[in-house]
Amino acid sequence: MGKILTVLLIELLILIVSVFALKIESTVGFLLLLVSIVFAIYYGAKNEKIRYRLQDAFSSSRRFALILGIILIFIFPLFFMDSPYWVFVITIGVIYIILAIGLNMMLGSLDLVNLGFAAFFGIGAYTVGMITAKYGLHLPYLIVLLLAGIVAMIFGLLLCLPTMGMKGYYFSLTTIAFGLAVELTINNLEWTGGPGGIKNIPHISLFGLNLGDSYTVFGYDLPFQLNYFYFALVIMLLVMLVAWLIHNSRIGLSWNAIKEDDIAARAQGINIKVYRIYAFAIGSFIAGVAGAIFAPLMGYIAPTNFTYAHSITMVAMVILGGIDNIMGIALGAFLLSIAPEKFRAFSDYRMLIYALIIILMVIYRPQGLIPKKIRKYDFIGGAKDE
């Protein structure tokens, strides 16, 4: 009973702090809150007693923690009914969580620092823009979403094959070139709308609902952004589930083995090329899906939404939150997508701050805020996470 109470209190605390963090007006106040969150997590993780109690509480009431967590996330945007803008911002945050989990398939699982990941996001978004706005095709949205993922995946494989044997700097440099090439191409091609991008992308319509409409519930007019939030959230939960299943499968274990020592992995009989292809295919597909939510939410997309800076941001999210830990990645992605809104005054220094975060994390806490957990097994060949 005490454990359930601990879980309840911790999750409520996280909700309250998050709501407060977004509502707080002053930049300094937000900064103080952010620093104290980071320190609380850092020292909480360091203090054996606290860590043990929390781990014990969460692992012995996992299902409760999970269900409560999901309920609270569903409630979360209701605190911002007075300002649709914030609902929009947290929806973008959810989209970035999806992206960061996709990126982790390469960065976390195989140590492939992809610095052009925004390209796949852009390709997904443009696929939707081209299909729905430019050509005005009336396909069911879920088909369009799937197509966006597949087109991004095809580009992922196009990047994967020529970089097959590359590691480290060589790989990263090639991905920078790839990201820039995609950005410049959509910027220069008339077919994709050039620098002006694609306008008037229609809203998602799903099962007879139009996500662009404002629905009235119990007499409240809900902002249309809320529809997108819930839709993005469902996709995010699905992506998390898939990522978790993969992480605990043979694929996840093989990725980690290859990441640590590809020669030893080959000596176990692992075909490392195939696993690299999996990582690219799954990662870029997820990015394409994120793009497919982004485009109709924005209604207007342009090359400036998918730049090198965006790629760096995604890398920073994974490294800050915790490589190979889904909750950590979600935290990192959410923090870094909210922070710029709070630091508008410093927006010129945004990239500098991201670079600083990456450097500080790599030096002081390379495993991220919430580190990767050791898989727990109860039968051969399959893992059970803690």
Binding site: D261, A264, R266, Q268, G269
Partner: protein, 234 residues
């Protein structure tokens, strides 16, 4: 079972193996001995496919495997416990063993073999869900051998398995190797501890700067004056 014919291997421009010819028959323990840098590790890596010969041929069960990729050779029954404990230090002991059985599908057999390995190396059982990097050097060595065994190989190649083990453990280890052999696994053994290696082997090859300098019955080599002087510290 295994035959190398005039195998030449280069690291860039360095000619590490200068035409090696050797064979291993089914059921044998064969030792490769030689000074540091003689090419023992290179030979094993070539057999497991991590290096490709510039010329020469490798036959396994009368099949030419010279250009077969490593992951397929594991499937054919060749397992390699590499020098210097190349285990996965960030993964747990259990995960390392599971990775060793990567190409197998017989869940019950895998479970049985894990228990067999725990009976060979009880220390590993206690550390089942610890990251392998937290094991002592000797325990890591045991894990490397256990992981190779998990592939249920026909041919097990061990590269300096006694490296860094306490003397008492070395004796135990050699007993385990003989045990594994008795259960039907053919063994190709590389050892600095040449005396021990020769005493459990049927045949041996002496490598010197990338060539086979001597070969023959292990007991005879053990008595050979040149071998004694150069490798047995007599």
């Amino acid at each position: 079972m295994l035959r190398l014919e005039n195998v030449e291997v280069y690291y860039g421009v360095i000619r590490a193996l200068k035409g090696i010819t050797l064979k291993v028959e089914k059921g044998e323990i064969v030792s490769l001995i030689g000074a540091n840098g003689a090419g023992k590790t290179t030979t094993l890596r070539t057999i497991s496919g991590l290096l490709t010969p510039k010329s020469g041929k490798i036959y396994y069960n009368d099949q030419d495997i010279t250009y077969v990729p490593p992951y397929k050779r594991v499937g054919m029954g060749i397992a390699h416990s590499p020098e210097g404990r190349e285990i996965f230090t960030t993964l747990t002991v259990y995960e390392n063993l599971v990775l060793g059985s990567y190409l197998r599908n017989d869940r019950e057999g895998i479970e049985k073999d894990i228990n067999w390995i725990f009976s060979l190396f009880p220390r590993l059982k206690e550390r089942l869900s610890k990251p392998a990097g937290t094991l002592s050097g000797g325990e890591q060595q045991m894990l490397a051998i256990g992981r190779a065994l998990m592939a249920k190989p026909q041919l097990l190649m061990l590269d300096e398995p006694s490296l860094g083990l306490a003397p008492i453990l070395v004796e135990e280890l050699f007993e385990v190797i003989e045990d594994i052999n008795k259960q039907g696994t053919t063994i190709l053994l590389v050892e600095q501890n040449a005396n021990m290696a020769l005493s459990i082997s049927q045949r041996a090859y002496v490598l010197e700067t990338g060539s086979v300098k001597m070969e023959g019955d292990a007991k005879e080599l053990q008595e050979n004056e040149d071998v004694k002087k150069a490798y047995l510290g007599a």
